[in-house]
């Protein structure tokens, strides 16, 4: 009885949709979602996909934003438990540190599924892009399409505070070390999620390494920042980004763009798949423990 009007506001789109009002003879399923942050398009795309999928499935969503704070996320899980949601979808802020949350939910008999970043607790399922793989893809693209002579200098702008991003960095550097040892990673700098800092970092890298050929940015905001600095310095350093955000695709499409490629994740697919898996779990169907959503390369050939 208490699933009343108060809780509906988050998913007002879903609740007011005629489709969902029609077929709710059985109990409505409520899913609590705690996103790592709402400050990245990636997670917003997940959220958008979740919302439209929820409409389709007639599921009620309560979406929260952990703002990159594990403690806040734990509080949100507690609130979900209070609200007696049927399942919880987490984008953990960190693998380690989400164990407590999973255990709390487990005690309350609420299944937990993770997206993007896995948990070190026991979850029903994990749905994510393989970030390490994404880094490898970027490295492979670099060697195949940019530094075709398998020689040159590359740099990385990383995001040390975020585990997934560090994995991208590792995938990139380790693939190069193994497969193209003459492509040197000459510099790795952190942009901490701040586009302006990425621009500064790029400026300094250009200053330091006059012969830089390419830069791999573990997120599209970093790539945007790097691009502005490269342009203003009149250099020709190529950029490979990561995320597949609209602004990246728009840049890649431009004639003669330095931003040559982007490792695209498919947040929409992650969201849809995760919600489907959650609903399946609630309905007693079994789901796979690990559902990998492959990243793929976007470049001029397939940008749209």
């Amino acid at each position: 009885a208490c699933s009343g009007p108060g809780t509906a506001s988050a998913s007002s789109a879903a609740a007011s949709a005629p489709a969902s009002t029609a077929d709710t003879a059985k109990k409505e399923i409520t899913v609590g979602v705690s996103l790592l942050t709402r400050e990245h398009v990636f997670y917003n795309n997940i959220e958008t996909a979740l919302n439209s999928k929820a409409k389709e499935l007639g599921v009620k969503l309560v979406v929260q934003d952990a703002n990159q704070d594990a403690s806040k996320q734990l509080s949100q899980v507690q609130d979900f438990i209070t609200q007696k949601v049927d399942a919880i979808l987490l984008c953990p802020t960190n693998s380690a540190g989400s164990k407590s949350m999973v255990e709390l939910a487990e005690k309350a008999n609420i299944p937990v599924l993770t997206m993007d970043v896995p948990s070190d607790g026991k979850t029903v399922s994990h749905i994510s892009t393989d970030n390490y793989k994404g880094g490898e893809l970027a490295a492979e693209y670099l060697v195949k399409s940019v530094l075709t002579a398998k020689k040159g200098n590359a740099a990385v702008i990383t995001y040390s505070e975020i585990e997934g991003c560090v994995n991208r960095e590792k995938g990139f550097t380790e693939w190069l070390a193994k497969n193209a040892p003459d492509v040197k990673v000459v510099d790795v700098q952190n942009y901490s999620g701040d586009q302006a800092k990425a621009a500064d970092v790029m400026q300094n890298m250009l200053q330091k390494h006059a012969d830089l050929d390419a830069v791999f940015c573990v997120g599209d905001p970093a790539a945007m920042g790097a691009l502005s600095s490269i342009k203003s310095a009149n250099k020709k350093v190529k950029i490979i980004g990561f995320d597949g955000n609209a602004e990246g695709v728009a840049e890649i499409k431009k004639e003669g763009s330095l931003w040559v490629a982007d490792v695209a994740q498919d947040p929409a697919k992650i969201g849809e798949t995760a919600l489907q898996a959650a609903v399946d779990t609630v309905n007693g169907k079994s789901v796979e423990k690990l559902i990998a959503i492959s990243p793929y390369i976007i470049d001029k050939s397939n940008a749209k």
């Binding site: 988050a10 209070t82 407590s100």
Partner: protein, 316 residues
């Protein structure tokens, strides 16, 4: 009677809190459940520990921006230590948590305190520097990887219960009570207020101003370190990025309650008010399922309204 007068001085904020509470009780589904009220208490605990120390510092007219970083560093040291004893029981875990807090907080606090009290570095700069340094150390030490795989007993402090009450809530209550008594009933507490009201006058009245300042920064750092260790117990992991930005939360709780940022006026009861208002708003907005952007906006607006009411009452 004296207490009553003390409370009525701040009564607008109390009334505001009461109103907020009642509105939440009525309009927020499931807010009123005992489980949720305990959640609220758990959710404010970490901030409460930090804000308690911050109250001391702000009462002397100082500020401590390093609390979040010190908390993170302490969480990492504490979890790293407990990893060394994989079979640790609860007593051992408590020993590690409290021991780490004392040592890490003590060292960080002493460095900050020395810079401020002896070398006369402005508190803002000294603690900003410590904020950078402690956070950097946390990253260097862990190479940005979380410390995890801890013995189960380690989680007791952060997740366990004694009867119906979470252990960490009990710790919070004890610490708030002790801090309240120290500030109201001891000479040291009185000196904290005196130094915040006027350093010159305090000095000429025979108060060892440097020592008072020294102690408040140590108290603040130790409580921040404790908060960090408790957090690591709650999350069963030590993270170098933990407690990022918590300094602002803590200062907000202190300032909202009515403690003056220039020192000399306020106290723990005010901080408790601030903590409760912020805790309840966060919890209620979250239960209401409001989008987090709007939560941010609502939070700002409500804090503002609370303080405007409070402020204008005081003028009368």
């Amino acid at each position: 009677m004296k207490k009553l007068r003390h409370i009525t001085q701040d009564y607008t904020m109390v009334l505001f809190l009461a109103a907020l509470f009642i509105v939440s009780l009525i309009s927020v589904p499931r807010f009123a459940e005992v489980g949720n009220l305990i959640n609220v208490l758990m959710q404010i605990t970490i901030n409460a520990l930090i804000a308690t120390g911050m109250t001391f510092v702000i009462l002397t007219g100082g500020i401590d921006l390093s609390v979040g970083s010190v908390a993170a560093l302490s969480g990492i040291v504490s979890t790293s230590l407990i990893q060394l004893t994989p079979n640790a029981g609860i007593p051992m875990s408590l020993l590690v948590i409290f021991g780490t807090s004392l040592v890490v907080g003590g060292i960080c606090g002493a460095i900050t305190a020395f810079n401020i009290a002896k070398l006369r570095v402005p508190p803002f700069v000294a603690t900003l520097a410590m904020m950078s340094i402690a956070r950097g150390l946390a990253y260097v030490y862990t190479n940005a990887k979380p410390v995890f795989g801890l013995p189960d007993a380690y989680a007791w402090l952060g997740l366990g219960y004694i009867g119906p009450i979470p252990v960490m809530v009990i710790i919070m209550i004890i610490i708030l009570a002790v801090a309240f008594l120290i500030l109201r009933r001891t000479c040291f507490g009185r000196y904290v207020f005196a130094v915040g009201s006027s350093e010159d006058v305090s000095q000429l009245s025979g108060i060892n101003v440097k020592r008072v300042k020294f102690y408040v920064y140590i108290i603040c750092a130790v409580l921040a370190a404790l908060a960090g260790a408790v957090l690591s117990s709650r999350l069963q992991a030590g993270q170098p990025a933990a407690a990022n930005g918590y300094e602002l939360n803590a200062i907000a709780a202190v300032a909202m309650g009515g403690t003056s940022m220039s020192g000399g006026r306020g106290g723990i009861s005010q901080t408790i008010l601030g903590l409760c208002v912020i805790g309840i708003i966060n919890n209620a907005l979250s239960l209401l399922g409001i989008s987090s952007y709007w939560q941010t906006i609502a939070m700002g607006a409500i804090i503002l309204i609370a303080v405007i009411f409070d402020q204008n009452k005081k003028d009368l």
